[in-house]
């Protein structure tokens, strides 16, 4: 049923597409897809859009026969939505991990451990950033007890002074990177 409808749509749209050059506007009134409207100038994009989304876009007449089908579609849609949210969370963690690694690499490049550095020494520094990556505040929140080691960590942060390539969404930045803690913890 849906398949037939979508085919009908497809041909209809194809027709409209061929008419596009002359009079594009009415075609999209049928569709009620605002984002397609925006992309009117790009013909290729329009075609692609049409290919991808006929099912979602099709107006299904609500009859007794189709009701069960609609229920099914709704359930599937819910499931899909859940999966999308899940994926988004996952990519959120991946993004944090990605930018954390970027930051880590830039600190490593600027950190010279003093000779007295030993496994077990820990320095914690609270960093405050602005969205451009510039460090605006540095607070030593936990000292290692070894001044030279503390200094080396502070030097590294000072030397970085601005983290490069932190191109992230504002929300991600505000939630995780505006303030974060650098933990210096030598392996050997």
């Amino acid at each position: 049923m849906g398949l037939v409808l979508s085919f009908a749509n497809f041909f209809q749209i194809d027709n409209l597409y061929s008419l596009n050059k002359i009079e594009p506007m009415p075609a999209y009134l049928v569709f009620e897809k605002p984002q397609v409207l925006k992309k009117i100038a790009n013909k290729k994009a329009v075609k692609k859009q049409i290919y991808e989304e006929p099912v979602i876009a099709s107006p299904i007449p609500e009859t007794a026969d189709t009701r069960a089908e609609l229920e099914n579609i709704k359930m599937e849609k819910d499931l899909l939505l859940k999966e999308i949210i899940n994926n988004e969370t996952k990519s959120f963690v991946e993004e944090i991990s990605f930018f954390s690694n970027l930051i880590r690499d830039q600190v490593i490049m600027n950190w010279k451990q003093p000779s007295s550095a030993q496994k077990g020494m820990t320095v914690e520094i609270l960093i405050t950033l602005v969205p451009t990556g510039e460090i605006i505040q540095v607070n030593l929140t936990k000292s290692s007890g070894n001044q030279a080691f503390d200094n080396s960590a502070l030097n590294a942060v000072q030397k970085v002074s601005k983290f490069e390539n932190l191109d992230m969404g504002r929300k991600l930045f505000d939630n995780h990177f505006r303030k974060f803690t650098l933990v210096f913890n030598p392996e050997n």
Partner: protein
């Protein structure tokens, strides 16, 4: 590597949950620290010929931890804090900057050096210090200044002011043995005792004022103690057989040594207050080459009680002995690192003798040298450098290596063969 990525992922994930992001840094770059020593300005009519900044620079560079900028590369030569343009020094990738002035002291023989150490990255003064020394030997003054700088930056005592003693053997014009003491850079080398009979095993007292050593001057081996700066010497109570391998306890109250008066060599303890020997080990195998742990509670030594030479550790109070080395069939001449957590020793692998270091707790062994006939390792009082005897084209020489194995050097020493180096303790307090 994978484990590290997993751990870091885990850390990130857990920090994501707590919404307080923590990024862990476990290593830095291996580059040496870059330091610029601006030539010291002299406020004297006839400034000495020696260039203090050069000695300080070479002191700091000797063990691979620092690289110093030559004055030719400097964009300016500031004399005071006001004249420093940090941007210039940052352009030259300098981490630290030293400025100083030298002037005459209260008497004609004194030189007073006023120096300041600046952290270029953070644009701030780290330390201001005044050092006074003798004009006739500026090296000593330079060594003290470099040790202060080293200590401030690295958080460890510097070792430029330490000395080394060693045995020097010359066959021309006649066979003669010398007990020598030199600055750690090889300069200021002088003989404090010489004999036509063999000299062996010098060992520094913990106060750095005396050396114990073995001399055959009486036809048989005997342990002597000599005051370095007065030349006063005395022999320990002589026992039948071998008297060898003296080693001072951290308190300087005792010497551990090897005697064979019971027939085979065992470890004994000599009490310097009442001149008495006390037996510590009693085994039909050979026990030799004792060294005290830094806390004075244990003695590490070599024994062939299991059939081949291996390293053992004894608890001095209850005489309990534990074998420490299990790799290979030759492990000998152990010396504790100053933190007491590891020991350096001679390890034979594939028929070649190497200097190795082993962690006492984990037992992890690491070979440091790739030469073949290395012996008698001695470790710097800050635990960072090892000097050992080795051969260069049949000639006995002294060589050094940093404890991480990355920096190597040859010690310039007197002509003739040199053996059995012994590193002094810290001789000048250069801490804060």
């Amino acid at each position: 590597m994978i484990l590290r990525i997993l751990t870091s992922l885990f850390i990130i994930y857990s920090s994501f949950l707590s919404s307080d992001l923590r990024i862990e840094i476990t290593k830095g770059i291996e580059d040496p620290i870059r330091i610029a020593i601006v030539p010291i300005a002299w406020n004297l009519e006839n400034p000495p010929r020696e260039y203090l900044h050069q000695i300080i620079s070479s002191d700091l560079e000797s063990f691979g931890e620092f690289v110093s900028l030559s004055p030719k590369e400097m964009l300016s030569l500031p004399n005071s804090e006001q004249e420093i343009f940090y941007r210039d020094w940052k352009l030259l990738d300098v981490d630290y900057l030293v400025l100083g002035t030298a002037s005459g002291g209260e008497n004609a023989q004194e030189i007073v050096v006023n120096f300041s150490l600046f952290n270029v990255t953070r644009e701030r003064l780290m330390k201001r210090s005044i050092s006074v020394g003798s004009a006739s030997y500026l090296n000593a003054l330079a060594h003290i200044i470099s040790d202060r700088i080293y200590n401030e930056i690295n958080g460890l005592p510097g070792i430029s002011s330490t000395k080394i003693s060693y045995i020097n053997q010359n066959s021309l014009p006649e066979l003669k043995y010398f007990l020598r003491v030199a600055d750690i850079d090889g300069r200021n080398d002088s003989s404090i005792f010489s004999s036509s009979e063999p000299l062996m095993s010098p060992s520094w007292s913990s106060d750095g004022k005396r050396l114990a050593y073995v001399s055959f001057e009486e036809g048989t081996s005997r342990i002597f103690i000599q005051e370095i700066y007065t030349g006063k010497r005395k022999g320990l109570k002589l026992e039948r057989g071998i008297n060898s391998s003296p080693n001072w306890s951290p308190s300087d109250k005792y010497l551990a040594a090897v005697l064979s008066k019971e027939g085979n060599p065992d470890i004994f303890r000599y009490d310097l207050e009442n001149d008495k020997w006390k037996q510590l080990t009693d085994h039909f195998g050979i026990d030799t080459e004792p060294d005290w742990s830094p806390d004075g509670r244990k003695i590490i030594f070599t024994s062939n009680r299991s059939g081949s030479p291996q390293i053992y550790e004894m608890n001095v109070s209850n005489k309990k002995i534990r074998r420490k080395t299990f790799e290979g069939t030759y492990n000998a001449r152990a010396r504790y690192t100053p933190d007491g957590k590891s020991f350096v020793f001679v390890h034979r692998r594939d028929g070649l003798f190497h200097i190795a270091v082993q962690n006492l707790r984990t037992g992890k062994l690491q070979i440091l040298t790739d030469t073949t006939l290395d012996e008698s390792p001695t470790i710097s009082p800050n635990g960072k450098v090892i000097i050992y005897a080795t051969k260069d084209k049949e000639k006995d020489i002294l060589a050094g290596i940093s404890i991480d194995g990355k920096t190597r050097f040859i010690l310039p020493t007197n002509s003739g063969g040199v053996r059995e180096p012994s590193w002094s303790p810290l001789l000048v307090s250069t801490g804060n």
